[in-house]
Symmetry: D2
Subunit: 413 residues, 4 copies
């Protein structure tokens, strides 16, 4: 279905595919393929780490991961006729695991190597492997739960213009300067080491210049990029700003599923896979609709739940310190409440954390004007559990422990 | 349906009902009524301002509002058998506008008197009046849109213990001390002026003591309180921490509908109304489920939409300043994107702002680990509009202006 | 909300309201009120029997009911400007139980007095009383289940023209002639006895003529009428053919909830109540849209379920006799399967039958071309039960019997 | 994903795969493969006709089709441990078009060769080809509409016992005897011609015996079979009666999508494809749950719509003849209403008919007790159309004709 535009075999070394891979944003990375509006095409992607994670029962690969080569993205793809100011319409027609790899993983990253939303509570590396059985993913490391298919690209973006890139680098540099030694860091500056830039090959002056200037792919920005929006799934329509001629569409960091926030950092179920797209253009769309960012229209075919337990957090932190309408703190507190709740059924904290990272939870900003507390809520669908987790008069039944592996599996505990 | 427990006529002065009203949180406000687990009962509530807002076409009432008497809440109601540590189960069986008032209002508060989420962009007072026609609310001040019924209590809470109250006052005092002169303020300390404390009458030593100690009702806290969660609607089940004997349940600040965030501050469609509840207890529930905050289970009968436009914001502010995973900034930027988009159809900024405050939009924390940018999304259901607002190749049609009132209606522009 | 157009007190004898009641269809029944397009108004209705059923624990009232005066409907209401060929738009803005009666009932009618879809299996009268607690109805006669609010008018129709009425009478007469002695009958001819015709008073020639000609209100027909569509609930929009000048809108037979098919005949939760509507016209709409029947658009705020058990039936009857694509037989067989399934949890057959009549089950024609079997499916939402009814390896747990009344309560068993 | 159990290449002649194909039901067709409870496996299937339909713009293949070899099904598959009386649990984990064919078709069959639900109105053959673009199917023969993925097996069944088979043959024989010359026929008796029986090869006595006894696969029966239930899609769980040792599971007749009723007979979007399943057993489940037929639990990930137009039909036929609670007639009349409505937008009757066959419409039995009329409703989701088909004051806009092919394309018109 759709023209096979770029093929990547995840069982081979990623370096064999560097010509169609980029791990930085820059307008001068050459296009590796070209499509026309209305065309349907399929692109394959490695997992975000380019194959650094193994299907086993330890977390040393997570603990020791080299982060600078990430994310390994496929592209850029030129869209004929696209010009700055246009809105690039991207219909996601299909997306799924790569035919050669039917498993994915979730990682909790160490505090000193990546961190995560709750890194103060979870400073050590952990990993869960998920097996894909069609519409469900199951993990031998997380008992009692099955996660429905909600595959999406963590990253879908266009190339920045030179001017936009310069603004990114400047504003992020200023932030880093506030606390350059922080662990984890506040942001990541351009990093020439391990830059992969497609047709630009190391050793050339053009490679060196671009690698020195190019932005990292971690944050979402005005080009879309690493938005990690779980709802960009099969059937969704993304609309992306065009900043350079040809748009230069790039895609990768595919997830089988993810909860809002992707809270364990590598919190989704990460996988290599394929994505089928159809592109179109709304000429001068940014101006017509007064937009500065990407927008999207969600799919009709997301999993829909009718039963949730909703946890609340306010902007008062673990030590009782009061913040001013801080939705970050409030969502963290809601996550901790949910983890505590799940522990009452027998889950370990790490299992609960990974459930919240991978399951299609909703993270909502419920109120943001009631000074001084923001109220954020975490919506946990009850139907993903194989037992009843709703609150009952008799209290929780500790049903989960039977599913655990018999031996300690995380060497860095 | 259900025992009529407390009746309030919104056409009469609120002062006639002070015996069943409280506008502060304190454990020593005496209960005004008592219910047993399993009992179904109905409580009436004034609007949060106790009737300060008129059904007219000016916003002087919003601009000049006396804020210290708010919120006007009904209660507290004693629940037989409730003890500290229990979870109070509150089934919301029905809720709606008061039979004597079939309209509500939304206010944008001045920067110097209340403010709001986008107060830097909307420093002046505005108001919209909404007429209730059953399942739909329509406003002569906001053309082209109808808001479906999603009534809920902005405030549903239990009394704090003395110890918890002391902690609230201490942590909020510290925050205020960081910038005591800020406009709008960071938080509000106890305010004896205009305290309404039910059976405790002004002039008595007990009133004076409680008024001096009692917490304001603006923020949500560990007792539930002003969570402004739009999904606590008919059919939802709230579970609230019990901190004092008898729980002392209090309810008010009823809304016909609200968007996630309640971004204009008085952003819901505010109304006097009634709420029918049934209460029950999970004994020692806080401990059994490891909880510190309220939780809830949403209703089967919320309006469900299948078509949305989703706007994105990242933690880079209007001036291009970069923040670290700041979901507050990111949601603000998403709100501004949505307002700009709606302006392309002919809406004024104020109309668009009030649509986002009142319509059942969803505010999501989509990613919160992609340093340095949080990504928040605002989900706008397209089916509330009487015209097609989805992005089209030909661009937006400016259809809205015909619905506007012919003359300027906001005197403080 | 909305102009109170017609008020009826269900605690008084229905005969006090005969001036605004009709129980037959005829173009010459005079309008009792008038409304304009765009107007919002509220109408009260008796239950369909005009108060013949008591809130008690016997079924003698069902067994012995006088059926000829039914249904007791409110109207007709003239719509200004409506002409034959128009589509009358009726927005159902609100609907609910009458403020003076917070209970309803479901009846299984005797085979010799009304019957029902499964009358061969349930030849005797039974009754269940349901108490309304806002969004939920519960019955002391049907344990373990709660039915969510899905109120709708069983009957919403316009007056037939003289010509249309003549065609109805002729075609139904021919059907009756096929088996005039059948019990229950194939159809009901005009019945002057107990005709209630609003302003037309018994004894006058006009009353006698109209009573002799007027059609019974049991079946749905080209005027809408007794369609018993559960989805015509708050928020739905009905579009009805106009056959006479002024449309003559009539409403009644209100239900708190009902399953598709209303299979026990009086299978909904029947109640007196109110309905708030807003009317409008699509001029010449029948012709513009090539329509001969009513259509509707459902509400955004129906209860939505994500978990169902679906039962199947084919057009082979209880004795193994094969029918040709007979969806009636197929749906009956699906109903029997569902009743048998529910019995495995301890329900009596009558309890199960009444659950299927009242709960928001969906009845679907899944296939109708696979000769010789139609396949009909019955979708039972699992979330209405207070225990888990999904199929499990260990089989069903018989949990229900504890909720039953201690003594036999149906005298005609 | 899952063990590849049976592979079939739809570009090769179906006769190459006869060893794993069956087109009749009989207990003595030998199993072609075996699976254990808990095992995940994938089976490929030809389209129901075994490749008789071409991707072109004529309908001669439909008109002249040889029907006796249909359906071409894959199996039977033995399930280890299954015994008569068990419930076979079949989780549908994935299903989709065959990798080698990204298109499907819908046929209207001639009255004299197959017929269909509305064959009196559509006596001639027509065909539409649908191209699959991931989550959407589009047809060059049906403009203005796109059909979302809702793939399912039209047929999923177990083998009948000898006794059950004998009962089928007997009851269907009696029906046929009522009108043996009818066109289309009332039912189809065993047909040895073109029987395909897997490992049983023509010419052997065993083949001859089984071919003479075996039931046709057209109707659904107590073994599941050709139920054509559109909701048996990815994520659904089917529970099938086991009648013989090893269950003998058979699957085929895959559809990309289908409307309730599959009204054009070959009304779904027919395709060759794959299905991934996991099986399990509820021992003695038929008895434990009092079941005689298959049941199922639908998927969380069906497309969900919030906007429908609902058409109504009553059991009065096109000539005005009155039937007694005949849901077949009532659904036919609802279908005709919907077709007429769609014609008002410029669709031809054939286009409209094929939309209703292929789009995920819901066919409901709304009331079945209101003598003499059943009321059936057809729910048409508005979001599948590329223009607004909701009723408007100004009437329909005839937008569709531009999308048609320029020349007559059906040679038998």
């Amino acid at each position: 279905m759709g023209r096979p535009l770029i093929e990547i075999d995840p069982t081979k070394p990623i370096s064999e595919y560097y010509e169609v891979i980029q791990n930085r944003w820059h307008p001068d990375i050459p296009a590796v393929a070209s499509v026309r509006p209305g065309e349907v095409f399929t692109v394959e992607c490695p997992d975000w780490t380019g194959g650094q994670v193994r299907n086993d029962d330890t977390a040393t690969d997570i603990r020791d991961m080299e982060l600078s080569p990430n994310h390994h993205l496929t592209g850029p793809i030129e869209v004929a006729g696209a010009e700055p100011g246009d809105l690039l319409v991207v219909d996601i027609l299909d997306i799924g695991p790569h035919p050669k790899q039917s498993w994915g993983y979730t990682g909790i990253f160490c505090r000193h190597n990546g961190g995560g939303f709750l890194t103060d509570h979870f400073p050590h590396a952990h990993k869960a492997i998920w097996e894909f059985d069609g519409v469900w993913a199951r993990s031998r490391h997380v008992p009692g739960v099955r996660i429905p298919y909600l595959a999406h690209p963590g990253i879908l973006g266009t190339a920045p213009s030179h001017d936009l890139l310069a603004r990114w680098n400047e504003r992020e540099r200023k932030l880093i300067a506030q606390n350059p030694e922080r662990v984890p860091p506040l942001a990541l500056p351009p990093e020439p080491r391990n830059a992969v830039l497609g047709a630009l090959r190391p050793g050339t002056p053009e490679y060196e210049r671009v690698a020195r200037e190019a932005a990292r792919t971690i944050p979402p920005r005005e080009n879309g990029g690493n938005r990690d929006i779980k709802n960009l799934t099969r059937g969704a329509r993304a609309l992306l700003p065009v900043h350079v001629k040809g748009a230069k569409l790039t895609v990768g960091d595919l997830h089988y599923s993810q909860g809002d926030g992707e809270i364990t950092f590598c919190g989704a179920i990460e996988m290599p896979g394929y994505i089928t797209m159809c592109v179109d253009l709304i000429k001068d769309g940014m101006n017509k609709y007064n937009l500065h960012h990407a927008i999207f229209q969600p799919s009709l075919t997301e999993p829909r739940f009718s039963s949730y337990i909703v946890f609340e957090g306010y902007s008062v932190d673990e030590e009782g310190r009061q913040y001013y309408l801080d939705a970050h703190v409030a969502y963290r507190m809601a996550c901790l409440e949910a983890i505590n709740y799940l522990k009452s059924f027998g889950y370990t904290a790490e299992e609960a954390y990974m459930i919240l990272g991978t399951a299609p939870i909703e993270g909502r900003i419920s109120s943001i004007v009631d000074i001084p507390n923001a109220c954020c809520t975490l919506w946990l669908p009850t139907e993903i559990f194989e037992f009843d987790i709703r609150p009952r008069k008799e209290g929780p039944v500790r049903v989960v422990s039977g599913g655990r592996l018999p031996t300690a599996r995380w060497e860095d505990r």
